[in-house]
Symmetry: C2
Subunit: 231 residues, 2 copies
DNA sequence: CCGTTTCGAGAGCAGTGCTCTCGTTTCCGT
DNA sequence: ACGGAAACGAGAGCACTGCTCTCGAAACGG
């Protein structure tokens, strides 16, 4: 696909693009997306701000590139955590996965906020972003698939009705043929709980109740593992 | 406390403060917090932008005022929903409460994002905000308190350990003496799930899976009601 | 009534995203 | 090898932002 032999221009362009993103990510980590300034990035790189527009047509496009990278970084981290956990211990895999997401979020709070906080106004998710964004929930589901025949639901899943049943069935067919629609739905519930909890912790909504949240986090990960029926 | 007899200046000041907030809220609802502009507010009110600083010392302070109002609006809505539901049907109260939060969020997406999205950079929560922010979780707990002696936990609560046990016991003593620490912790888990789910729906993370999310929402509210042991 | 405080308006500062123009450099087909 | 075309970097400039300072007018209160 991509030409193996690249002209000097192409190489320079690629390098500069990376360097712009690198500097932008630095500013993002320092000050948050709000305060990320194209002009400051250009200044730091010793170039005119107008030159930056040769590489990213707008500030939102630069942000979108950072979002892509962040989704992939988080996704890789999550997948690696699952892979590193013992294959025959689904609960440990679940724990490792949830913990890795929280760790990444605490290490990169501004990037996390960029992904799961208020969406940037002018931004609409391009195709690529969607698949990158799915990696965490897919990892959660892969853990469930691995334990599909040993699931133990202490509280039976409520029957799915109407549109929900159809949506869940559609997803099961594509993603998790080994797992029932009810369990998949519970996994999605657990997914929303996981990110809700992390967001609350990071955004300061647990101050005064369960902050510091380490033990609360660990506990609710176990509770949600029970919830989806992990042995 | 407040003087009953107010001077013309005091009345004018109060009125203008309200009007500024009103216009700011209008712009917030239209364009989001990101694009809320002091100068535009002043322009719309026919005054110089510098005059606005007599009423709010900075943009962040104006935003903080809007945050306060939004927390209270959401809190009132939630409390009203609980109050309007039959007192002898805890599950219906739970449903009404969760539904009212979601409804408010969908009606005021930008205000919701202001509360539960990425925190404003320069902003730190003043004392008042904290209590206003607690109203929803307190309402959730009040539903549980009302059903404290009829709770039915299909899956037993995992034992709380270490710091978590202490945190939960402290909260129980102050908030919900009728309810066990384990159940209170589950309520907090359900709380994070509720807002995680609403945030995901509003911020577009459910697109492609459970969007539209009406039935998924209703279903998971029931599942979480089971989770906390509501009859 | 008169000094003090409060207020509104205007000018101005430093910063932003973005556009346009204008030379220069690099590429690529002939 | 050359010449047209495309890509590039820099600078000036526009419209906008939050915020500060100053100055004259208005309202207050002893």
């Amino acid at each position: 696909m991509a030409p193996v032999i690249r002209t000097a221009r192409e190489r320079a362009r690629e390098e500069l693009t990376l360097e712009i993103k690198r500097e932008a990510r630095r500013q993002l980590a320092d000050e948050g997306a709000q305060r990320l300034s194209l002009r400051a990035v250009a200044r730091e790189l010793g170039m005119a701000s107008s030159a930056l527009y040769r590489y990213f047509p707008s500030r939102d496009d630069l942000l979108t590139a950072l979002i892509m990278d962040a989704y992939n970084a988080l996704g890789e981290r999550a997948e690696a955590a699952v892979a590193a956990a013992p294959a025959d211990d689904p609960r440990e895999r679940w724990r490792a996965l949830c913990g890795s997401v929280r760790d990444w979020a605490k290490e990169h709070p501004h990037e996390y906020a960029l992904l799961y906080g208020t969406p940037v106004p002018g931004y609409r998710a391009p195709e690529e972003t969607v698949t990158a964004a799915l990696r965490v929930i897919l990892a959660l589901l892969s853990v469930l698939r691995g334990a599909a025949h040993h699931l133990d639901l202490r509280t039976p899943v409520r029957p799915l009705r109407g549109a929900l049943a159809e949506q869940a069935a559609g997803l099961v067919a594509v993603l998790t043929p080994e797992v029932s629609a009810g369990v998949l739905t519970r996994a999605v519930v657990a997914w929303t709980q996981l990110f809700g909890m992390i967001s609350f912790e990071l955004f300061g909504h647990l101050v005064g109740s369960f902050d510091p949240a380490d033990e609360f986090f660990a506990h609710s990960v176990e509770e949600m593992a029970d919830f989806v029926g992990l042995p």
